[in-house]
Amino acid sequence: MSTITGVSTVDELPDPEGHGPFEGDRASTGRLGDRLFGGTARGAGVLVIAMVTLVAVFLLSQAIPALAADKVNFFTSTQWNVDATPLQFGIANLLWVTVLSSVIAMIIAVPLGVGVALFITQYAPRWLSRPAASLVDLLAAVPSIVYGLWGLQVLGTHMAGIQSVLERLFGWFPLFQDAGIDASSTVLTVSVVLSIMVLPIVTALSREVFAQTPTLHKEAALALGATRWEMIRTAVLPFGKPGIISAAMLGLGRALGETIAVMVILSALADGTPWSWSMFNGGETFASKIANNAAEFDSPQKAGAFMAAGLVLFTLTFVVNAIARVVIERRKVFAE
C-alpha cells in the first residue's frame, strides 16, 4: 500500500454494509420526497399561470374581431350599438363608473378594515378578539344578491340625506353634481355596499399580518417610551404595509368584478344621456353590463363586443395588481 499524502484508501473501499464510497447510509427520505413535492408545487404554479394566460387568450380571440369592426374610438365613445351592422361601441361610461365605484369603495373600506384589524390584534382583550374576528368574517359569507337587495331597499332610503348635504356643500365640483337619479340607485350607494363586501377581505388579511409582527419590535418601541399608538405606528404598521397593500388589491379585485349587487342597485342610463362625472349618477359597470346582456348574445360579433369590455376589466385588474406588486417589492428592499 502506498502512502500518498492527502489520499486515503478508505475513499476507495466500500462501507462495511456494502454501500459504495461517498454514498452515506440513506437514512433520510431524501430525493424522492423532494422531487415529488417540488414537482407538485411547480405544477400547481404552472397550472395557475396557464389558466390566467388561457383566460386572456380566450378574451382576446373573442374580442379582436369585434374591436376591428368597431367604427368609433373604443376608449372615448359613450355609444353602445352592438345589434346593428355599423358596430359602434365604446367603454368610456363603463370605465368611469367601474373605476369611480371601486375607488370610493376602497377609500371607505381600507382604513376601516385596517382599523378593525388593529383593534382585534392590538387593543381588544383576548375574550373579545376571537368572536369579533368571526363576526367580521361572517360578512364575507353573505351572498351578493342579499347585499344588492339590502342596499336598494334599506341603505338607499338613508342615502337621500347624505346626498342632499354633499350636493349643497360641494355641488359646484363635477364629482358632486346632481344628475337627477334617485339617491337609492347612485354610484355612491353602490360604493358603500361594495365597501362592506370588501371589508372582510381587508380585515382578515390585515389581521393575519399584524399578528405576525415580531414581538421584539413592539417591546422595543414600548421600552423606548412609545405610547400604544406610537408603537403601532412605528412597529406594527410599517411591518404590515406589504400585507395591507396585498389585502387592498384583493379587495379591489372583488370590488371591480362585483356583478349582482351592482345590477340590482345601480340605475342604468338610457342611450344619449349627457356625460356626467358625478358620483350621484347612474350607469353600468363592466361586470353588470355583461351580466345584463349575457342571455341575448345572438351573434359572435355582439358577444365579441362584450368580451372586449371584459378584456378591459381583466387588463385593468392586472395592471393595478402589477403596480401594487412593484410597490411592495420596493418597500421590501428597505425592510429588515
Binding site: I181, S184, M263, A268, E296, D298
Partner: protein
Amino acid sequence: MKLQSRRQLASVTGVALVSTLALAGCGSNNNTTASSTASSSASAAGGSSSSTACPTGTLNGEGSTAQKNAIQQVIADYQTTCSGATVNYNATGSGAGVKQFTAGQVDFGGSDSSLKSTPTAGTTGTEQTNADKTCGSPAWNLPMVTGPIAVAYNLKGVPKLVLTPSVTAKIFNGAITTWNDPAIAAINKGVTLPATPIKIFFRSDESGTTDNFTKYLKGAAPSDWPAATGKKWTGKGEGKQASSGVSNAVKSTDGGITYTEWSYAKDDKLGIAQIDNGAGPVVLSGPAVSKAVSAARQTGAGNNIVLKLDYATKVPGAYPILLVTYELVCSKAKSPAKVALLKSFLTTFASTGEQTKLQDIGYAPLPASIQAQVNTAIAALS
C-alpha cells in the same frame, strides 16, 4: 386507541346505515304504472284527444322568462296528473332558448319572438333555416302564452288614467315631462293631474317585453316613436334590472311610469293605464287581450304559426300591448321516444282548462281560433 377507533368505526357505520334507509324512503315513487293514471289524466286534461295513456319520460325546455310562471304552473299540473313524466324548464331568456334549440340541446324552446327569417350579422343562415337544419325537418313556432304588457304608473290621487299610443310614445321618449301636461289632460277630462315630473323606468337587461313594447309604440304611433325597436331600450329614463326591478322602482317613486308584465303590476298594486287605440279606452283584462290576438295575421306557412300582431288595431275592446311566447318544436322530433310526451304536454298546455287558469297569474288565454290552429299543429307532430 384501538377501542376508540372501533367505536368510531361503529358510529360511522351506524350513521351510514340510517342515512341510507332515510334517503331510500325519501326517493319519490316514480314507478307508478302509466295505466293507473290514464283515466285521471284524460279527465283532467280537458281537451286532449289523441293519447290514451300518460307517457313517461323527461322533457327539457329552455328559454323565455316571460312565460316562466305560466309554464311552471302547467308543468306542476301536468306532473300531478302524469306522475311518470318529468318536464324541466329553464328560464334563461329568449335568446338562450333559441340558441339551445337551434343547437339541438333541448326538446323545445320558449321565445318571445318567433325564429327570425332574416340573417343576423356574423352568422350563416337565419334562425329559422338553422333550426330546420338541426331538426332535420321544419321547425315550428307554436304560440302558447299571451302575456299582456301593462303601462304601470304610480301617481298619488289618480286611480284612473287613459293613454293613447301617441301620448304614450311622447312620454317614453321624454317629449312630455310632467303629469299635468296638456296632452295628457286632454285625454283625461275631469281628472286633476298633479305637476309631478314623470320618471320613466325601463328594463336594463335585454328583454322581449322591451321588444314588444317598442314594436307597439312604433306600430301604433310611428311619427312619435322614431327610435328603433328591439330588445334594447331606445327611449329615455332609468334602467332597472328585470320586471321586478322596474315594478319596485315605480312603486317607490311618485310619478314613476314603466312597462311591465301584468302580473308584476298587479302584485305591486300599481296603477294600470287604460289604452285608447282609437276605439275608446280599454281596461286591461284577459278577454281584451285575447281579442287583440285574434286580430293577428298568420305569416308562417301551414303549421308554422308565426303571428304578426296588429299593434294599431282598432277592434273595439281589444288591448293591444302584449307579447306572445312561442314554443319552438321540431315537426319531426329527433328522438321518437319523446314525441308522445311532447304532444301530451303541449296539448295540456293549449287546453282551455289550463289557459283559463293562467289568467289568475296575469296571462291571457289563447283565443279559440289560434287554439284550434295550435291543436292541429300539435296533432301533426311526429
